[in-house]
């Protein structure tokens, strides 16, 4: 779990947990207030970031060598607030390193799309919108991808039952 889920803190002071982390420190220098936490558990780098900085951070990280976005997904921590945890998986092919960016979003909160940084974020963000209901601003075509276009509800949310709401979806 991430060490800090609050989205307000003093700008310019990194949390204890990642004050030694070179990547986090340099990112925080470029964009003060963007890095809220992180950890290095099991050899994986994960940084908790502030939602409003995501596009700028991704642009900086792409310039630094993270050419590929492996995926975007969300985790629903309902009933804990803020409910959604968005996770971005970054991959640097040249230096064989991976980085994970996570941020917390409340229900109904929107976030900027990173399609302008990596075009490959398109379908992943559509999937998150389809299955969780998180809206992405400036997305080229935010529509459902897995579920039919006229589906109601967002199936991967924790308050959506596994078996759906109807006994049979045929003969509608």
């Amino acid at each position: 779990m991430n060490s800090a889920i609050s989205s307000t803190r003093r700008i310019g002071v990194l949390p204890e947990a990642i004050a030694q982390n070179a990547v986090a420190v340099s990112l925080d220098e470029q964009l003060p207030g963007s890095i809220l936490g992180g950890d290095n558990a099991r050899g994986e780098q994960a940084l908790t970031v502030h939602a409003s900085y995501i596009v700028r951070l991704c642009r900086i990280l792409k310039e630094r060598g993270f050419e590929q976005l492996s995926g975007v997904t969300a985790v629903d921590w309902w009933p804990v607030e803020p409910r959604f945890e968005l996770v971005y998986f970054l991959h640097s092919l040249s230096s064989h390193t991976r980085l994970r960016l996570t941020l917390r979003l409340a229900e109904g909160e929107q976030i900027d799309s990173v399609c302008s940084v990596w075009r490959g974020a398109n379908w992943y963000e559509r999937e998150v919108f389809d299955l969780f209901g998180i809206q992405f601003r400036n997305h080229p075509s935010l529509e459902r991808i897995m579920m039919p276009a006229d589906w109601e509800g967002h199936p991967l949310r924790k308050d959506y039952p596994v078996h759906g709401y109807k006994y049979s979806y045929q003969n509608e």
Binding site: Q68, S70, H91, G120, M146
Partner: protein, 422 residues
Amino acid sequence: MIIQDTAKVASLEAEQELALPNPAGDVTPDGPGLQRRRMTLNMGPQHPSTHGVLRLILELDGETIISARPDIGYLHTGIEKEFEAKKYQQGITLTDRVDYLANLSNNLCYSLAVERLLSLEIPPMAQCMRVLLAELTRIQSHLVWLGTHAMDVGAMTLYFYCFREREEILKIFEMFSGQRMMTSYIRIGGLALEPPRGWEKAVARVIERIAGGIDEYENLLATNPIWLNRTKGVGMLPVDVMIELGITGPLLRAAGVKVDARKDSPQSSYDQFDFEIPTRTANDVYARFEVRMDEMRQSVRIVRQALDGMPSGPWQADAPRIVLPDREKMKTQMEALIYHFKIVTEGFRVPAGSVYQVVESPRGELGYFVVSDGTANPHRVFMRTPSFGNLQALGTMLEGVLLSDSVAVMASLDFVLGDTDR
């Protein structure tokens, strides 16, 4: 899934009025009385060449594709949702069915992810066996790709040859686990069962047969003028565009990018094996064909090394709360019975945390992001499947391509809809 956008078709019809040819006049294509008109065509979801239930909404100008929009979701069965309703060990059977042509690779990725959360050490024999089975899976997946690719382009005989060889590998899987495809043989903590008596001879026999077969099948196509005409120079995209769009696996290796999870972040004793990552630079369908043929040869190499150097020892980790006890012990010893009962009914609790485990599936980079909240049910399992990333680029790859070439391009992507839609 997008239901037919009738508004778009109607607007297209409105902007280009249909002009009928004048029977008495000149009927050359761009002559008086005839107009070019773009056609919106549906390819799929039921189509022999789309390799599953993929729907492509194509806008055609004659035979040239102006734009192609893949529409997926026809095979979406909510596997990620089901994970949350099951125990960790029950999730293995779900992973088999995600990519139904690379079952053991998915089993392996999920098991490795959960084992990392549990900080579980896997004995060397189980690790070596996992590598052997993962490479056999790669060979049989590539055989399916080769057979279907050749059949799509027109060389139908190869399909039968490839499936005949694949049958031998499936018999090996059946020998190990009782199941041909959905083996669930790689479990959390090691393997499901002890490898059967005589498996070394059976695997050795099959691998010799396949090694000979690979050269034979490549010879059938590699210098065939029809094959060369249909695959050379087709399906190219600039490398940085491919990387940005999320393509991984043999497509990147055919463009010269030497990236393979088996070498970059070796797991399960892959670093103890001697093998190469084949690459090409041409970045067309033919280069992808060559890369996958070479990958099959490297897999044969790895399997031979695994056979020669298979360590002896237990095939499951020493973790009585996680791994099911031996069946006979369960029937006679009290502790084994209790452990069995607890594991089956309550499962085992995994420490809270999240891990992203990457494995090189036959299709590309396969990643499982497992989030645990400390209970016996996974909180979230996200499968970063290679086919989803590769299919995203299909629209860009098919722009300006002839309709008949689109079939070759799709076959070279080697996607599986179960992988895409989950």
